[in-house]
Symmetry: C2
Subunit: 203 residues, 2 copies
């Protein structure tokens, strides 16, 4: 389970898309949300768009791994696709904020399988520039996002890794490097115990 | 600080040499030992060869980070070169066994900076084959080494990562991948805190 978090505008979405294209063992976790769909978004692909009543029934039914309220809208991670991916030995990519990351990290099973990466913009000007070029956002939303970005950035030290996203290509390679290294961790190599027993002549 | 451990014959020395050639930021930690020098070995490069009296004075003087007795010979890691490398921001490579790794991992300062990798042979036949082709060893030493190898392998789960050394080239790449990923860890990026403060506009 790979978590990518960042203040909006740091390039996380672009990096996520590139990772999904390059790594066939990686599936994206699609969040559920009550916020209105943007014209460019596809229901079930970018988000699962639901109304507040449905969202609350998902919370009550224990169907969400984590959920949070951001600017009055609910966001949450459906539990079932995550469990299915882990059972199938597939890695799953989460595009969630620091609150969601903390909740998943605290989960007994999910926490052990979690690798978290925080993406930072190379500088403040670049961050503001990226936030302003989202044509659909009003000035008020841009200012809200800048303020939220500062808050979000202050949480970087709860993550395992940090990547400063100056060149997208390099950042994608760094995420791939982290994922490749994490797959070599003792606890992540399936069948390792049996393999060592066999090496020791204790088949 | 990067530790490579393995049962002898798993290819650790070959991997270490390749890493040193490719990564100019990496220095090898040269162990001190009381065992006799082999004809192919260079004093100060392969080991620092000392007599037992000198070794004991190094222990008493607190000059060793860790030391152990293997088959009646002493082996130890001099502390000073490690401290110098860390101060200079250089990475240091250790070719030590599980006991040495445990001792360093338990050290307050060294432990936090440690990344440990365990190298396994691809199968038992290959391990025995590699141990037998060391021309200078007697049959008794080969058997001792096989038995020590089994004991050493049973300690794999105290390490951070494991690499099954089937193709040397791939194994070297995997060590490089681990090192590159570990350099992206939050705690290892020097100046990160100041960088984030600046991003947040709190210069």
């Amino acid at each position: 389970m790979l978590v990518l978090s960042s203040p909006s505008g740091a390039g996380k979405t672009t990096i996520s898309r590139a990772m999904l294209e390059r790594d066939s063992n990686l599936t994206m976790s699609v969040s559920a949300t009550t916020r209105p769909k943007r014209s460019s978004e596809v229901d079930g692909k970018d988000y699962i768009f639901v109304d507040e009543e449905k969202f609350k029934s998902m919370i009550d039914g224990g169907e969400l791994l984590e959920h949070a309220n951001v600017f009055g809208n609910f966001y949450g991670t459906p539990k079932k696709p995550v469990e299915e991916a882990l059972m199938a030995g597939r890695d799953i990519l989460f595009d969630i904020d620091w609150q969601g990351t903390q909740i998943i990290a605290g989960d007994e099973i999910a926490g052990k399988n979690l690798v978290s990466i925080f993406i930072l913009p190379p500088n403040t000007a670049e961050l503001e520039n990226r936030l302003r070029t989202r044509a659909q956002d009003t000035e008020e939303v841009v200012q809200q996002r800048m303020s939220k970005a500062a808050d979000e950035m202050s949480r970087y030290d709860g993550y395992d890794y940090v990547i400063i996203n100056d060149k997208i290509e390099l950042s994608v390679e760094q995420v791939q490097t982290i994922l490749a290294a994490e797959r070599l961790r003792i606890g992540r190599q399936i069948g390792l115990h049996d393999f060592v027993q066999e090496l020791m002549g204790r088949e």
